[in-house]
């Protein structure tokens, strides 16, 4: 049992506050599926920077073993553990790790994963003295969250995701600070969210598997959705995001014949620099080489490369399970 859960159990038992309503038996909401379900598809803009000035398909050539030697992924698990006067208190577990691939092609942990366990709730509404327990206020500084359990819950969930992103940025920054430029490259699951301006040409790319945001009008988007396997779109700068600018392009990893239009389609993000433009094809070829082994049985196997699945598996093996949470909380319900 984690330290946080043990302390939480002790605090609640000690206080025996009738306003506390402990919840057990719930599944833990996990990772991207939850986040994606919550995300709303929308349209954003983009600026094409491809030398041709077009988004049109570009053959990248045959797959080639690349220089991806490190892989980063994060995870989050969250669950309501109690209600305080009908206000949800969410337990959130967030972690991020960089796993390295050695010359023997086996994955190992680069450094201990960054982990944060905390309770997410509105401090304004929850009068709990939880000494020694990490907690994060779900209220925005500018605008308090409305007193509606579902809205409060949604706010907590967003804060958990935010905590995960911070951990991811942290381990990535550490890696960049420690790595020698020109050697291994880091492949990050998802968007590059950090501010890496201090690095002129960071050896880092992000691979985005979800396509909730569409950056081009439908006429151009059709070209992207129609990309054949092994071809990429022109490089562009995604607009409308609250993150530092990056260069990005789409790449079809697997043929989508007889499949969904997004099947095997990923969007790659890399540092906004000339080198990225020059090496877009090469980086794409590296990614194509990562298609084997498959990431099955993961549902996103068509877009997920195996080392990222490996990072996920690693983090999951360390994360608390529903049973563990229930074990900590069950005694409090009696």
């Amino acid at each position: 049992m984690s330290e946080l859960l043990r302390n939480l159990a002790a605090c609640i038992r000690e206080r025996a506050d009738p306003r506390v309503h402990v919840v057990t038996g719930l599944e833990l909401a996990e990772d991207e599926p939850t986040a994606l379900a919550a995300a709303t598809p929308h349209v954003a803009g983009a600026e094409v920077v491809e030398p041709s000035g077009k988004i049109d398909p570009v053959p990248v050539g045959d797959p080639e073993p690349g220089r991806f030697g490190c892989f980063m992924d994060g995870m989050e698990r969250q669950r309501v553990v109690l209600y305080f006067s009908a206000v949800p208190v969410v337990y959130g577990y967030t972690a991020a790790v960089i796993r390295t691939r050695g010359p023997d092609r086996r994955m190992r942990t680069h450094a201990p994963p960054a982990v944060r366990e905390a309770l997410f709730y509105s401090r304004r509404l929850v009068d709990l003295q939880l000494d020694g327990i990490d907690s994060i206020d779900t209220d925005d500084e500018e605008k308090p969250v409305e007193e509606h359990p579902m809205i409060l819950l949604d706010a907590a969930r967003k804060k958990v995701s935010g905590a995960r992103e911070r951990l991811e940025r942290g381990v990535t920054s550490e890696w960049l600070a420690a790595s020698d430029e020109g050697k291994d490259w880091l492949l990050v699951d998802g968007s590059l969210t950090g501010d890496y301006d201090q690095y002129a040409e960071p050896n880092m790319v992000g691979v985005v598997k979800s396509h909730q945001t569409q950056y081009f009008p439908m006429e151009e988007q059709r070209k992207i959705l129609g990309l054949p396997v092994g071809q990429r779109s022109g490089v562009f700068i995604p607009r409308g995001r609250r993150r530092p600018e990056v260069y990005s392009w789409y790449l079809r990893l697997r043929s989508n014949e007889g499949q969904d239009v997004h099947f095997g389609l990923v969007r790659i993000e890399a540092a906004k620099c000339e080198r990225t433009l020059a090496r877009a094809d090469e980086i794409s070829r590296w990614l194509l080489a990562e298609r084997s082994p498959l990431s099955l049985p993961d549902a996103r196997w068509d877009r997920m490369i195996y080392p990222i699945r490996d990072c996920e598996q690693y983090l999951r093996s360390l994360a608390p399970s529903r049973t563990m949470l229930d074990a900590a909380l069950l005694r409090l319900t009696r």
């Binding site: 092609r105 990562e290 099955l296 195996y306 490996d310």
Partner: protein, 653 residues
Amino acid sequence: MELKQIGRVVATEAKPTTAYTFNFWASDDAKVGIGTLVVASKPGLEVYGVVVEGFGFTDLGSALHDYIGSEGDPGAESMTIRPEVKCYTAAVLRVDPEEPLQPVPVAPVYLADDLAVGKALRMDAFQDRTGIPVGLYQNGDLLSPVYLDSEFLLGPEAAHLNITGVSGLATKTSSIEFVLLSIFEHFREDVAVVCFNVKGSDMLFLDFPAFAREGEGPAEPAFQQSLDDREREMYARLRVQCEPFRSVKYYAPFKSDRVNLNTLRTHPDLVGSVTPMSWGLKDILQYTEVVLNRDDVDAKSDALIQYINQRVVDQTSEPNGQSITVRNFQDLNRWFDLVLQEMEQSNRSEWKTHHYATIRKVYNRLSNLSTRYQGLISPDEFASDLPWGEFEDRTVYVVDVANLEPQAQDLVFTRIVSQLRQHLETGKLGVKHVIVVVDELNKYAPSDGPDTYLRQTLLDISERGRYLGMVLFSAQQFRSQVHKRIVGNSATCIYGRMDMDELATPGYQVLTSATKEKLATLSKGQLMIRHPHFAQPIFVKFPRPNVMRGPDGIKMFPPAEDLPLEEAVWRNLSRLDQSLSRNEVKDVVAAASDPQEIVRAMNMTLQKNSDDPTGYFRRAVRKKAGVVNVGPGEQPMAVPGLDSTTTDPFERI
């Protein structure tokens, strides 16, 4: 505990731990395999187990996923290798403390060292007192001795050893030999071994080393390679001398000529060490039910045989008015003739309540015995047997029955075991414990087929022998085809490489499939052992015994051709009297009434061990009619001429 951690216990809902089994994963470089002894340890609790199953897996959901990922190209190499975990199932051997008996907890797993092996197999309780080293358990590069408890191997707690394995690997014979050597070295009471050599030359060279040193013996490649350092280290670890048996005595019946021995150990250099085994009337009369057909020995016949046994043999009686002392089959035949003559002359159908037909029948059957079992049953009073009452400690008595017909083997087994039992019961065998070694149990004690005295004898040993100090060490190829009560009574069982068909029989259902697979592929010198102290079967290695293999012995000491009578007599008697010349023997043979007479005289001479063997031999021979001994300077006696009026030419002599 200073042990090397190699894994960790895992317990899942699908595969939970129990009080008797647990699962653990092991690091890639851990030297763990089926049969490895491990310890799951946490403060206050140690669980000893033996690995009985192993399984490895990756996160690959289906073979199809790998096929698709490789684009159907088996040579394609992925950028990343999937993590592969090796998990093992261990059967619990011992838990310390033993109470309360709970499911094995999640704990670090270590490889067992010498001390842990001793604890795991509960050998710590007996190895210094009654331990008999049987082999070495290999744990990575470590070799830990494994002991059998002599109280459970040789009695009185339990007893008997049974060995199963395919033929051709010499595992069965070698392992029995090694266990016997180890018993001789470590058992604290006196013990002798009676080995029945049932095939070829398996046990005929136990007194010779297997491995010729440089410059000694033939250096042919067909001979066993000498022991390497590792094997010598094994002997040292087991504290057993790397030597052949120091005291071996061989016994074999004669061939039908009653001169040449019916064994393969007949090389001139060795034949002198083989004692003839020849039994007379007295020796076998109480075993007539073994050698006679069951239909022959009805109640009436049995009554007559008992009468002969109690009132006739070794006693003087006067059938038909003639005094006769029956000491051998020849005398018995004469006694029968007299009895029948008396009945015929007095026209009576009964003699001492025995009917004429019964007497005829028993006469017919008994008189045939010395013919049917020529070589084993002596028609005359010559008898040669195992040294009843004078068995020596740490001595192997090899009885070669390989060339005897089945019924004769029946007789040999039954009589020897009966004699052993009788002498052990009265404490007059010479040793307190005797181990009876029998190979080919499939043949001699099958689970089906007709009941034989031999099978009854083996059953008797296995069920009652341990109370007397008589222990059965048996071997066979197919345990499933041996009488259940014999293998069931064997407290210690050893398994060499097994046939898969055999392993598929119900008797092996308790073994996991991995253990069976390992048994089917065991190499020479590897065994699986079950012993009352071991909660699970244990795999061990044993060194090759330094005993000459039968085929090697035959190459080094080729059996001699059968000798002609004169030569055989001269060779046998010249061992007693080296001044004896061939001509002297030739003269005596020429003067003898028939060859059997010479054989009888020779055997009597050998048995008598007289100060003047040549003279004794000469006097023992009954002369041909008309021939007398002629002293120096005497004239030969004239032989009377034949008279045509007489019917019997020998009547007047």
